[in-house]
Symmetry: C2
Subunit: 355 residues, 2 copies
């Protein structure tokens, strides 16, 4: 820390992303990337011509990509916001709409970035207590005061609220915004997008990082009313107007033409999630009911940190959180079937179980 | 604007970037992009393999790129910050170090984003008056209180301060930071990087958007003391850790291997700037002494906005600013020799001059 850093950031605890080790090759099941590469049209979307065109700025409006997203999701371009990864859209939500007496309410156990955004933008953060099974009771959101951010399915539990539950929350106070972070929705949950036309207090955030296999391209998007979308644009134009590069814009557009490919990938991942969960169950694992592309599991009698280290020493990276409420758990990304098998065998070995 | 936008942003005036028209093809001399495409190694840096790897997050540390930049510029990786365009690095400078009683001082006529950053982050903005010839007297910075941001060469004037002048400013108050935005330095000014080892209050911001022909890839970088660099990282990890995508990281690294190519491009642009300036002079143009890849010119008796529109109607885009202090001027990017000729002929035609 330098002596020049302003006071209010001196105690700021930044987000710690899952490791992206550059030193050796791991079976990488720690950051919920897709097990499968981008679709053929994405691979072809970048060529010598598009590289030549890099000398020109990208379209700050992402006009073509917004139009394509609007068409793919049955909405209009003025209800689409495009961001440098969904983290940027989420951060802009905190910047634009929270603070000045409006707190933000999030599940007490959820995406670790939400409290960091709150701290960074000077927003009061109100955690909503979890139920004993790590689900959230939607009534608690209805009773809470302030804006709401819900990862749905939630991370790292993978548990989803129903569309009806989210609608109840939206109705509970039309004067506050409800942001639904649907990063993992394509792996088995139901999107709340159909509610968008009826609720001007709904913001839906999406990402290309998970089901669209483009974590490395940095592309997120959000849907909201034209007015709320314009506010997000205002934040963008006040911080980084050319937020999405040309290659990513082109890749994002191309991906929308291959929706069948991605649906197949999601189906495989959902099937391998169920397979892996069943096998981990046989090894004594206790799991939340995840509908995402990861499993949240603990093995009674085994400390999560120890299992994490044992797996890492065997070349398998999973995610472990030091938060004592969930430090027994591991969050394991569903990889290819082969990677799942490698993980199951390693855990069987560590736990002394048979398989 | 929605009814949900917080109070303090309701009056926020966002930055207006130069037009990136998607409707038709212009001779595009309005946003200071390079006239030349990225180098051969950059073109080759993206292939099917790197597209496949997009499923994985980018390295949030940009380890390889930082190491390459450190080597290219003779510094150490812990003094290098990498950003999603230099706007992001500049914004982080305002976020991390300004405010809480520390104002920011910038030339009264300079990059239009500086006052926007100040407003967004709640920082008092103190414009330093320009001299009649649109230069800035370095003594005014020495006398000013607060952090300093200087575009050097300045935009839109193209006028540069000497390294000695910047050193005097650095010495005037070692307890404040001086951020030198060297976006245009490669076209004919002198970098202040050699001062970095002696002044812990210096931050130097650079971009791949201009001399490295990669505006569309979104890549900026900054050099500072390890402590100041760590503070910029803290802001990044609190807003968008994976700020630079994989393809751009690879392209940025590749560009450093083709430094001869870029030096040649800069030489051509500098020569065409001098050629164009001489021709515009013959047409009655009055220019600042630009060492950047643009010319800042006015034609007495002709309103800048009118010339802008006349050129646009002829398919030539230049930049015009409505600020009354410079509304007589046009900022014209130096394109290829052919583009410069097209511009000169169009202006000759509009001004009724001969050539």
């Amino acid at each position: 820390m330098s002596r020049f850093l302003i006071e209010r950031f001196r105690a700021l605890t930044e987000y710690v992303p899952g490791g992206q080790p550059q030193d050796r090759k791991y079976v990488k099941l720690n950051t919920n990337e897709s097990a499968y590469p981008p679709s053929p049209r994405v691979i072809e979307s970048v060529n010598a011509e598009s590289m030549q065109a890099l000398r020109l700025y990208s379209d700050p409006q992402s006009t073509r990509l917004k139009a394509a997203l609007a068409e793919a999701y049955g909405t209009s371009p003025d209800m689409v916001f495009v961001s440098n990864g969904s983290d940027e859209a989420l951060g802009f939500f905190f910047a634009a709409f929270c603070g000045e007496g409006t707190p933000v309410c999030c599940p007490a156990i959820s995406y670790g970035f939400y409290p960091v955004f709150a701290q960074f933008y000077g927003v009061e953060y109100r955690p909503i207590p979890m139920e004993p099974d790590l689900s959230v009771d939607p009534r608690r959101f209805c009773e809470a005061k302030g804006n709401i951010v819900i990862a749905n399915p939630n991370a790292p539990t993978g548990i989803a609220l129903s569309v009806q539950d989210v609608e109840t929350i939206l109705k509970s106070d039309p004067d506050r915004l409800v942001c639904v972070d649907e990063a993992y929705v394509d792996f088995g949950a139901e999107t709340v997008l159909p509610l968008l036309s009826s609720y001007e207090n709904l913001v839906v955030v999406r990402t290309y990082s998970k089901s669209r296999s483009m974590a490395g391209a940095r592309l997120g998007f959000a849907f909201a009313s034209p007015e709320v979308t314009a506010d997000l644009e205002k934040i963008k134009y006040s911080t980084n107007p050319y937020n999405v590069n040309r290659l990513t814009q082109a890749a994002g557009e191309a991906a929308l033409l291959d929706s069948g490919y991605y649906a197949d990938c999601c189906k495989k991942i959902a099937a391998d999630r169920e397979f892996t969960a069943a096998e981990l169950g046989k090894l004594g694992g206790e799991m939340t009911d995840s509908v995402a592309n990861f499993i949240f599991v603990r093995f009674p009698g085994y400390e999560g940190g120890r299992l994490y280290r044992e797996l890492k020493s065997r070349g398998i990276l999973v995610r472990h959180f030091s938060d004592p409420r969930i430090s027994d758990y591991l969050r394991i990304t569903v990889g290819t079937r082969e990677e799942c098998e490698t993980l199951i065998n390693a855990l069987a070995d560590i736990l002394g179980g048979k398989r």
